[in-house]
Symmetry: none
């Protein structure tokens, strides 16, 4: 029986979340069992349905519950990590294991790929052509922050889908997150940045190239911890709260609140929120952005990229600066030209304005979800009941652990010998690599064609079933 | 009531756009009010829906209207983004000194413009469309330095036309010279840079933003002098030897040799040669690049941009690194993605490979030369025999001196009152502004349409003939 305390300082949705989370963790709510419908629960507790929604989404974000379309929320089968079902048959391993073509890459499971077949080349190409023939003024230099109408579109999209709280004035379009991080490095000259460990080596390289030293802070099951951050001495903190790269951890609301408290404690502290692939959450809508929690004047810089939602070959990313940084940015970068071609800016703007963008995202999300499920099933069939897949519900890669496989280095080598390119989780550790879970690799499936899924899984079966 | 003129040379969509823009600016269409649906408007005016679409999108791009999903277009709510834009030029013959429309810009003589009519939109658009439909692999991430085939094309073009001595390996493509200067700033961390005085304020801003302090060195009639450079204590030297910006001085060979001697005298000294508009030399072929004199291992970084040869709205520039810097660049920037869209890289590559680029340059050079001669003649007619024009044989701007005109500040103000936007030479001085020649302004003519040349000259006559 759940009792909420309306007079408490803790918001109702957080109380409800905490009570349900506790029930799930203690097994009082059995794995697989449906949670009460939102209206039922709201009536029962005398709260609004949005309170229930928020609590359920937090549970889903934590991996304690899963949303099923048109069926509601269910208690997670195994509490966050998706284990393989023991009733699955083990691999028919001997079938196609071959010594031929050793080390020729047949299956690329790196995390930077996308499925180019999903790109709406016809619509994009048609818009682009129209602009080229009818909008010669796009040949002229545009606004420094990016074209105003594109910034307005982006602000409205981020507000609706990511809860970002900003005006178009705060949006800055740039040719990739690396470029934007370089601009930030100037604004934050003299800072020390905490970065997630494990995490993006790229961010560290860019910040350090730009004069911002970085200190890795070990993440826990909720992401980067506030006490570790405080101890690091950093005044900047780069995080991927929607979907930690590469482990897939989603930062729950209480941890987000702690980080915001850290940032608010001293002037000059900022969170850099990289929301690089939040479009691809399969079980539920992702938690709204940290930036939205902090508000337009809060100490958060929000960054995102169109590399995954459109294509890595097009260089379009954007950031949302808080008001506190905007004036200085405008003064120091006044003479800079924007780095994104105006034709691509305006193609994207029309693509968003005419509704193609949201449809494209929805179609991709469905396609990638099916691919993830197909690949996960094929891997379970090939690798047997010991396989553990982590972080499957979000993003375009997951962690693959095969206990007893002989260590990740051997796994990566054996995979390569069977034509499968992937990286070990240890590669993403910038410190304390000894704390890396053993026998774990990072498998991206976005670039894997449907026809290659079974082949890739079988090749890994050949590689790792000894 | 909008009336369109199908017999006019002005496209229907532009006529419609101009009429609506005027209505919005004059408040005849109230903020927030919906524009008629595209079909309604098309039927009412007897034009196609795509004409209406284009006009509406132009309004949106200008910030005069906003599109709302599934609701159509609305007049922009706030006046904040409204700005006037000269839609139609005044008839040149009718130009007389007037007090009406004071300070409305009719003639933009700033140096960043180009004539968009000269852009080969058909060929470019056709190549781009083919790539979009037939080269899906361009959606994937490309090489860090830029696509290899484009770099090969650029190396060969620069070798043939600019005497640059390099392999494609040394070429780095990037989204604008500012971006490339930012990369160089990292390679040259701890340096002091000498820059030309007068010169590009932009270069100074970018280098100083990126941690490289700059010291202005006064140029003389041959450009930046080696003794001034030696005295500055700098180890880097940024120069525009083909066509000094903004005075138009071309650095003669002996001075180039002196600067190379300076650079060779100590390790860590480098010349940054910005060859930003050498395509537009009208009297003779430009001197080969300094980089070519120094050779592929010499102490010169060569920079150039496609902003002038193609369009400022496309962000493509490149640099050629000497071998001595290449290894470090590759190591430090290994994880960076290139900043130029691969579709634009490959469109440019095909454009160059099929001979369009050199033909386009030749056509533009001729068109701009005629424009320069036409404008110079119109100015002499309007301003009389005291007028002195400097730096006319190269680049897309010249210096205009009118002794006794009352100082450049008064000249710029009076010009603005007659609808002509230009800047005084003093604006480009970063030190010793007292040494600036008097009564001198910088006039760019690349953005001036043929039909506007007489009008612009007459407006300056009205402004400065007292």
């Amino acid at each position: 029986m759940i009792t909420l305390h309306p007079e408490s300082d803790t918001p109702l949705y957080e109380q409800l979340y905490a009570a349900l989370a506790d029930d799930i963790r203690r097994g009082r709510l059995a794995p697989g069992r449906p949670l009460p419908g939102r209206r039922t629960m709201a009536t029962r507790l005398g709260v609004s349905t949005s309170t229930v929604d928020t609590a359920y989404q937090m549970l889903a974000a934590e991996g304690l519950a899963v949303a099923r379309p048109r069926s509601g929320f269910f208690v997670q089968e195994t509490g966050g990590m998706l284990h393989s079902r023991p009733d699955r048959p083990a691999a028919p391993a001997a079938e196609k294991c071959t010594e031929e073509n050793k080390n020729v890459i047949k299956y690329n499971l790196s995390t930077g790929s996308i499925d180019t077949d999903l790109f709406p080349a016809r619509s994009w190409g048609r818009i682009q052509k129209d602009l080229m023939y009818h909008r010669p003024e796009l040949l002229e230099r545009g606004e420094m922050q990016g074209d105003a109408n594109l910034r307005a579109r982006i602000a409205s999209y981020l507000s609706e889908y990511r809860g970002v709280d900003c005006t178009p004035d705060q949006v800055i379009v740039g040719a990739g997150i690396e470029y934007l991080l370089g601009c930030l490095a100037h604004l934050f000259a003299g800072s020390l940045a905490a970065i997630e460990n494990p995490g993006y080596g790229r961010t560290r390289a860019v910040l350090e190239n730009s004069g911002i030293p970085c200190v890795p802070v070990d993440i826990d099951r909720s992401g980067l911890p506030a006490d570790g951050l405080e101890a690091s001495g950093a005044n900047l903190c780069y995080i991927t709260p929607s979907h930690h790269f590469p482990t897939g951890v989603t930062m729950p609301a209480p941890r987000r609140a702690q980080l915001l408290t850290w940032a608010a404690a001293r002037p000059g502290r900022y969170l850099l929120e990289d929301d690089y692939d939040s479009e691809f959450r399969f079980d539920t809508r992702p938690l709204p952005s940290l930036q939205g929690m902090a508000g337009p004047d809060g100490p958060v810089v929000y960054l995102t990229t169109f590399s995954k939602s459109l294509a890595p070959g097009m260089r379009i990313a954007c950031m949302v600066l808080p008001q506190s940084l905007l004036e200085r940015y405008r003064r120091d970068f006044a003479v800079y030209a924007n780095t994104v071609s105006r034709f691509e800016q305006q193609t994207l703007c029309t693509f968003m304005a005419e509704g193609y963008f949201t449809r494209h995202i929805a179609r991709m999300r469905l396609a990638y979800k099916r691919r993830m499920e197909h690949f996960a099933a094929a891997l379970r069939a090939a690798l047997g009941p010991d396989l553990v897949l982590g972080g499957v519900h979000s993003g375009l890669h997951f962690l693959l652990t095969l206990p007893g496989a002989g260590g990740e280095e051997a796994m990566v080598e054996a995979a390569a010998a069977q034509g499968v390119q992937l990286r070990g989780l240890r590669d993403y550790y910038m410190a304390h690599a000894d704390r890396c879970p053993p026998d774990t690799v990072v498998a991206g499936y976005a670039g894997l064609k449907a026809a290659d899924i079974e082949g890739a899984a079988q090749a890994l079966g050949c590689a790792w079933n000894s």
